[in-house]
Amino acid sequence: MSGYTRAEVCAVACADLFADDGEILASPMGTMPMIGARLARLTSNPDLLLSDGEAYLLADTPPLGGAAPLEGWLPYGKVFDVVAAGTRHVVMGANQVDRYGNQNISCLGPHERPTRMMFGARGAPGNTVNHRTSYWVAKHAPRVFVEAVDFASGVGYDRASGAAARFHDVHRVVTNLAVLDFATSDHAMRIASVHPGVSVEDVQSATGFSLAVPDDVATTREPTDEELKLLREVLDPKDIRSKEVPNG
């Protein structure tokens, strides 16, 4: 790989999640989704609303860890209103995710006595049945991409029926190796694109279930010069992105 890093490919793939979202709230959880949302606002989707992670909306697009002037107020109570109204795209992490996009951030092992307690269901059940949801996985591995999640915090396609299906929209999963989506007849996870330098076999062997593979697998697009400049000089000059995804 020359000219750009794997982390930069991931940042651009995260930015592309928001490209068609229009004037809605981006809620990126974690470093790479946050870089992606900010990059999207500076490129493909200037209408995107960004929060400071506390209670304010940002009028400007600051670097990671930086401050910006404000344009609005959005305390937690109003965030729940936005969730219910559906004008939001959340990108969450996933300790586990399965082929239908069920996601676990709650606990590992039996629920009555977990082997590892994590956050709890958090807002994942409500997010996934109310508005578009994507996932970011920094280290694509079989222990994350599992046959069945121990606890379905986020709702996948096979569990979304009736009122849960009405606004259900699990969009994509971006990882350090690939972009995955659910554009198959039964909404089973599919390889949408592999990152430059990654093979379909690399992705499949890092996945604990069989992925749908199109006849002609695309390569995740390379960052443009403008995007690289924004990433390196404006949004993440300290290169925090490479700590999350080392160049491989």
Binding site: E54, A55, Y56, W73, P75, Y76, G77, F80, V83, A84, S106, C107, H111, E112, R113, P114, T115, R116, M117, M118, F119, G120, A121, R122, G123, A124, P125, G126, T128, V129, N130, F151, A152, S153, G154, V155, R159, A160, S161, G162, A163, A164, R166, F167, H168
Partner: protein, 256 residues
């Protein structure tokens, strides 16, 4: 108007074994930590805790005060998980009702409005439904016929909240950017305990913040405790931010 000021110890003396208590704040933000520590000093046990959980939940669990936790998450924000809560869960010591955090809001709102439940879409299809066998759905009586979660009211025996300023009668305001759900906790509870950074005369209280920040009025509060630093080590901006050093020490002690 009544003077509702009291001490931390007297404020928590209303607790009885087996009560359901609500704790305000969010994660590691504006938690009524002085009141939590006062609870630790009582012999009360078998509590059910409703909280947007932070170290309040972890400390009460570590002290063996808790029978059940009703939660969407327990997190220290800058440290993802609370080690005391994780340990209690991993030891199988706790009963839990694990909910979507929006369901917690709906349950508190139902209690506040004296309704048996409120419908909500959150929860459908998730394992929140699997591990809460008493949770029911309700079908819309209108043409859409949607089947939604009937989130039951989270009726509280006692609510504990911490705000920046209050008067002796129980009027109070927050000065930071987020009210969290402290008003709902008070409305959902039979008995409401407020601690604050500073008790000031009513005129000064009203002058200290925009009117929209006067979150609690005196019919929502039964006891007022002046507890400077009473949210520490969690944040209580603008009076103080989170004491990350103290929080790290808490997490390290808990994890060891």
């Amino acid at each position: 108007m009544r003077d509702k000021t009291t001490s931390l110890a007297d404020a928590v003396a209303v607790l009885e074994d087996g009560m359901t208590i609500g704790i305000g704040g969010w994660g590691s933000r504006r938690k009524p930590m002085a009141l939590v520590e006062a609870i630790l000093a009582t012999p009360v046990r078998d509590l059910t805790i409703v909280s947007f959980g932070g170290p309040d939940v972890g400390m009460l669990c570590a002290a063996g005060k808790v029978r059940e936790v009703v939660f969407g998450f327990v997190s220290l924000d800058s440290i993802p998980y609370d080690p005391n809560f994780a340990r209690a869960r991993q030891a199988g010591e706790l009963a839990v009702r694990e909910l979507d955090e929006g369901m917690v809001v709906a349950g508190l709102r139902a209690a506040a409005q004296r309704l048996p439940f409120l419908p909500i879409r959150a929860g459908l299809g998730s394992d929140v439904m699997t591990y809460y066998p008493g949770l029911r759905t309700v079908r819309s009586p209108y043409a859409d016929g949607e089947e939604l979660v009937a989130m039951p009211a989270l009726d509280l025996d006692v609510a504990f909240v911490h705000l920046n300023r209050a008067d002796a009668h129980g009027n109070a305001c927050y000065l930071g950017p987020d009210p969290y759900f402290d008003d709902l906790f008070c409305l959902a509870a039979r008995h409401r305990v407020l601690s604050c950074e500073r008790i000031v005369p009513t005129a000064e209280l009203v002058g200290s913040a925009p009117p929209q920040a006067l979150l609690l009025n005196r019919m929502m509060v039964d006891a007022v405790v002046e507890a400077p630093g009473g949210a520490g080590f969690t944040s209580c901006v603008p009076d103080y931010g989170r004491d990350e050093t103290a929080q790290r020490a808490y997490a390290e002690t808990a994890a060891s």
